[in-house]
């Protein structure tokens, strides 16, 4: 025991260093955990205030682009409208065709903090639990998908950007319906990779990639990007496909939070099968 104390005393500097590093690693590990109750994030009051101030300045500079984006979004929304509804009158002739039930709700939010240059990127939005935001809601912009809500405080929420090591979105090739998954391999916010597409699938530059109906988070058919480069000469059964993302992550100002009203029902049913 005495020897132990002497040992601890002699190397106290090193042990203190290890202790602090262990604290840091713990915080990082917690941060990666999907639904954590961390206090070191920009949802907290002071950090969000400062980030709000910075964003107020950049918002003004980007005003022109934002206006153009909103006009484009209006046009896009009109064409989206039928897809927003879940039609529950299929195969029931006695129910009138016009009876439709809403499946997705959209809420506008302003981006108060954003990054694209890290390996794991996050956004902060100015909507929180008081407005009905909850974790695992989807986030989209006028141009395409943005990310998934990770943490919520009363007035702010932080969003795991698609530009993240752990993000994986189920995607569909629009012209032939094949399903793959999108991941971001880092370093360039304009490009991502489409995985799990077998070699016999014919693809051309410019083909559109949209979200599939497999996700309980994003509605079906939200734009992801276009094919930029295809390499079929790989060593495995799948093609290497580079996708040019349609969302311009570097200049996001306003985004939409997507709430799937029937998500719980779907997940509960699916959970039963795996038991």
């Amino acid at each position: 025991m005495r020897n132990l104390l002497i040992f601890l005393w002699r190397y106290n500097f090193f042990i203190f260093f290890l202790l602090l590093e262990a604290c840091c690693i713990y915080l990082i590990a917690q941060n990666n955990h999907f639904q954590r109750a961390a206090f070191v994030n920009s949802s907290n009051r002071i950090a969000a205030k400062v980030n709000s101030g910075v964003s107020a300045v950049t918002d003004y500079i980007n005003l022109r682009e934002t206006n153009e984006g909103l006009a484009r979004q209006n046009a896009a929304l009109k064409s989206l409208l039928p897809g927003v509804y879940y039609i529950d009158s299929v195969n029931r002739s006695h129910v009138k065709d016009t009876l439709r039930k809403q499946q997705y709700e959209f809420m506008v939010a302003r981006v108060v903090n954003n990054s694209v240059n890290r390996r794991n990127n996050y956004l902060t939005l100015d909507r929180g639990s008081l407005q009905g935001v909850h974790p695992e809601m989807g986030v989209i912009s006028a141009d395409g998908i943005v990310g998934i809500v990770k943490d919520v405080s009363p007035h702010y929420c932080s969003v795991m950007s698609f530009l993240h090591k752990d993000s994986r979105v189920s995607a569909r090739i629009k012209k032939n319906g094949f399903i793959g998954s999108m991941v971001w391999e880092g370093y360039d916010a304009q490009f991502a990779a489409l995985k799990d597409i077998a070699k016999h699938v014919k693809l051309a530059k410019g083909d559109t990639i949209v979200t599939s109906s497999f996700s309980a988070i994003f509605p079906e058919g939200i734009m992801i990007g276009t094919v930029d480069f295809v390499d079929a000469n790989t060593g495995n059964n799948f093609q290497d496909i580079r996708i040019r993302l349609s969302t311009r992550f570097g200049s996001l100002s306003y985004v939409y939070l997507v709430d799937n009203l029937m998500k719980d029902e779907q997940l509960k049913l699916e959970a039963k099968q795996t038991q």
């Binding site: 203190f16 690693i25 990082i28 070191v40 907290n44 996050y122």
Partner: protein, 177 residues
Amino acid sequence: MIVQLIQNAVRFLLLVFLQVVLLNHIQWSGFVNPYVYLLFILLLPVETPKGLLLVLGFVTGLVIDMFGNSGGLHAAATVAVAFARPGILRLLAPRDGYEAEMRLVPQTMGLKWFATYLVLMTFIHHFVLFYLEVFRFSEFFLTFFKVLLNVGISVLLMIMGQYLFGRAVNRNERILG
């Protein structure tokens, strides 16, 4: 003593402010993201106790983490820098050792000494930071390139800032580097 305390506190606030408000928003080609806040740890007086160094490193990193949503990444990197500082200082010690209350600025230590010190420390910081962030070896060389590029830019910014805003010290104290 009091003057030194205030000087360092002001430097802390200015550097954190600069980092959070301006430099965190530099998003150039997805590679460049300079971090200059660690200048605070580098410029602390030579006689700062080792334990205090670690605590200050931890707190500084944690504050940057709060604004950047990065958990404990910056804290881990800054604590590593604080841990390495006494060793690096011993390695780079001038022939007669450090004088009491010697300021670790290029105006007293010479530009060559200062640049070497900065490059070594910034490399440690960026290395820990970027590799912890990526946390896998499959992107080893790209990450290494990113570390080297950012070390260059961060050090350049820090030296420029030191010459522009660091108070010039009496010419007599100057040791040619």
